[in-house]
Symmetry: C2
Subunit: 371 residues, 2 copies
């Protein structure tokens, strides 16, 4: 194997594929990148047995071949080489020789036959959206996936198409984040729960651009396909929550509030609420809604906090308890200036919605206040 390529091009490829490199594995080959060439392209593959990434780039191939090289070492050396042409060759001792200007590196390689094959996916349904749109949908939901492994299905985000709408939903038993967007093409409706870990990596690879990404699903796998790069992942098995049913249709109390002001209040008050050394981790803040005013307060052994904001209110007065972290998580990802926060009773969930955009719905369960 022997090829010549530009540093920036190969670095871009490596930056993508290293996201699926296994760490702490008993199979050292999974810490490697599989490099394969045909007569005009190089294919880089990584696979940690959950996520697999393939990246194809053009290069001047002087001799075809395959090898596996340690991913971190190889990509770090490439990253630090000068911005110049790089010659890469597998020599007769099975060392990968990297040459660039005055630098010459030889890295131990592994047997490419030991590298596991990526699952082949027969895509049954697919949609194509802009990468920035997918990035935004992941960002607005992924923080709400469950970190508890006892119900694995909730450690992923549901991707569901209904007609020409794509819904992405995450839920962890305490709150639910739901983002939806219109898609141009009509596909057969599908539902697939993609592991949160995969989406985190996908999010790092996709660009904040209008470039398209195709999301394809089969029974057990999903596929993300971009220009040069393909990501495959297993799907999570099980029954997801029927999310449309759990979101209250009516409110008893509604506030309309500046998003940043509310976020600032919760950030300050979290300093007190999170400082509790008591066992009860979910130390609630109390939200009191009176006509034209919302008061958020918290008391523990560290001190007392009280925040007052003048806002527009509708409906009944209310006193209700919440974990401020759950508010903050959502407020941080909402870009809109103003939001509605809708409440039912002090034991029913509250729902946050940006005013100008019907695409995002976030629901939090309250915490019962001790008196």
């Amino acid at each position: 194997m022997k090829f010549i390529c530009e540093k920036d091009k190969i670095l871009k490829a490596l930056n993508s594929v290293v996201k699926a490199v296994a760490s702490k594995t008993t199979m050292p080959v999974l810490e490697g990148i599989l490099i394969q060439t045909n007569e005009k392209e190089i294919k880089f593959t990584t696979y940690d047995l959950e996520i697999g990434i393939e990246y194809v780039m053009e290069a001047t191939i002087e001799e075809q071949g395959n090898t596996v090289v340690n991913a971190i070492m190889f990509s770090e050396i490439i990253r630090k080489l000068p911005d110049s042409e790089i010659k890469i060759e597998l020599n007769e001792n099975n060392l990968l020789v990297i040459e660039c200007e005055g630098s010459l590196y030889k890295l131990a390689t592994m047997n490419p036959d030991e590298f596991p094959e990526l699952p082949t996916i027969t895509v049954e349904n697919s949609i194509t959206i802009e990468q920035n749109l997918l990035k935004n949908m992941i960002r607005k939901t992924i923080f709400a996936v469950s970190i508890e492994e006892n119900r694995p299905i909730f450690t992923g985000c549901l991707f569901q198409t209904i007609g020409n709408k794509l819904n992405v939903v995450a839920v962890d038993g305490f709150r639910l984040a739901w983002n939806s967007t219109n898609i141009n093409e009509t596909s057969n409706n599908f539902s697939a729960v993609i592991p949160g870990k995969t989406l985190n990596e996908v999010n790092k690879i996709i660009l904040d651009s209008f470039d398209p990404i195709r999301i394809g699903v089969s029974k057990n796998q999903a596929l993300f396909e971009m220009d040069n790069c393909k990501i495959v992942t297993r799907l999570l098995d099980g029954e997801f929550l029927n999310y449309t049913n759990v979101i209250p249709e009516k409110w008893e109390t509604r506030i309309r509030i500046n998003k940043n002001n509310l976020q600032d209040c919760f950030e300050r008050i979290s300093l007190i609420s999170a400082s509790s050394t008591e066992k009860e981790k979910k130390y609630p803040v109390k939200i009191l809604i009176d006509i034209g005013k919302i008061t958020i307060s918290c008391t523990n052994q560290t001190g007392d906090a009280k925040e007052q904001l003048y806002v527009s209110t509708e409906g009944k007065n209310l006193e209700v308890g919440f974990n401020p972290k759950y508010f903050l998580d959502a407020l941080k990802v909402i870009e809109d200036e103003e939001i509605y926060v809708d409440f039912g009773s002090n034991i029913s969930p509250c729902v946050i919605r940006p005013i100008d955009e019907g695409e995002y719905t976030y629901m939090i369960l309250p915490i019962r206040l001790k008196d």
Copy 2:
């Protein structure tokens, strides 16, 4: 106690004093900030029994008093308040009440009488230099202080004045960093070894500005004095190295080289040299100097690395081994474009000096190469 101040002003004060707040202490009062007022100023004091910081700021004092409040909690709340006027008051229940727009916080306080007094220093000698100059001198030496506690004297930097020169020196048994600068005033010559930990904190507090800082020393203490802020620290006890004696006066081999090119080479080659999983941590790189050329190489079980640079050389050819980290540490802080690297034999130290500036000298001991 009751005062009114602007958020940005008090935040600046707190950002400085939090640097000497104790963490993991058995004396909770040391996790606090002592707040004292007179008729027109507030004094904030922190002291971890090694470093003490005092910061004085003007404010509208409505009622004098003293208290101690948890440093992290207090400064984080202040940081997150709106940019506005803040009213702070110690109430009748000994809670520190912080009011700013719609926010109201009450924090538990501690007894100010329990806060230990900062040592009083009778400055015997002092010099005044620009803060950016001191920042630069610390930056160029501090990485070479010893992290081994068995010879405490080398865990600090020597500050020594000789005539109108200030020398700052750090040494850890493997390398030595020495920066000197001219000072305008003449003082009595003094020598003081200031703990590295103190200098790290001083470095975070001082500005990259031409504002003056006074460095004063007594027998056991040093004092850094700026506009509003005073830092006191104990000195390290013991005999420092006679640094001028250990730096070779002559070289047998000299190279003149572009600093960035050499740094890039060492950064790449460190990837291989640091990847060794063998016990011998100080895996050396081999430096080979031939007429007009320097070759740096390293071989271990991960792979082979070889870097060649065409440079201007003088004197004998040489093969010598070094820990590349020690080169990198110095190259990272040198701003000059070109440097001299001077060698003696393969068992004598090498000396790095910027070409245009005689103020910085860095010496590294070689590692014996195994053949």
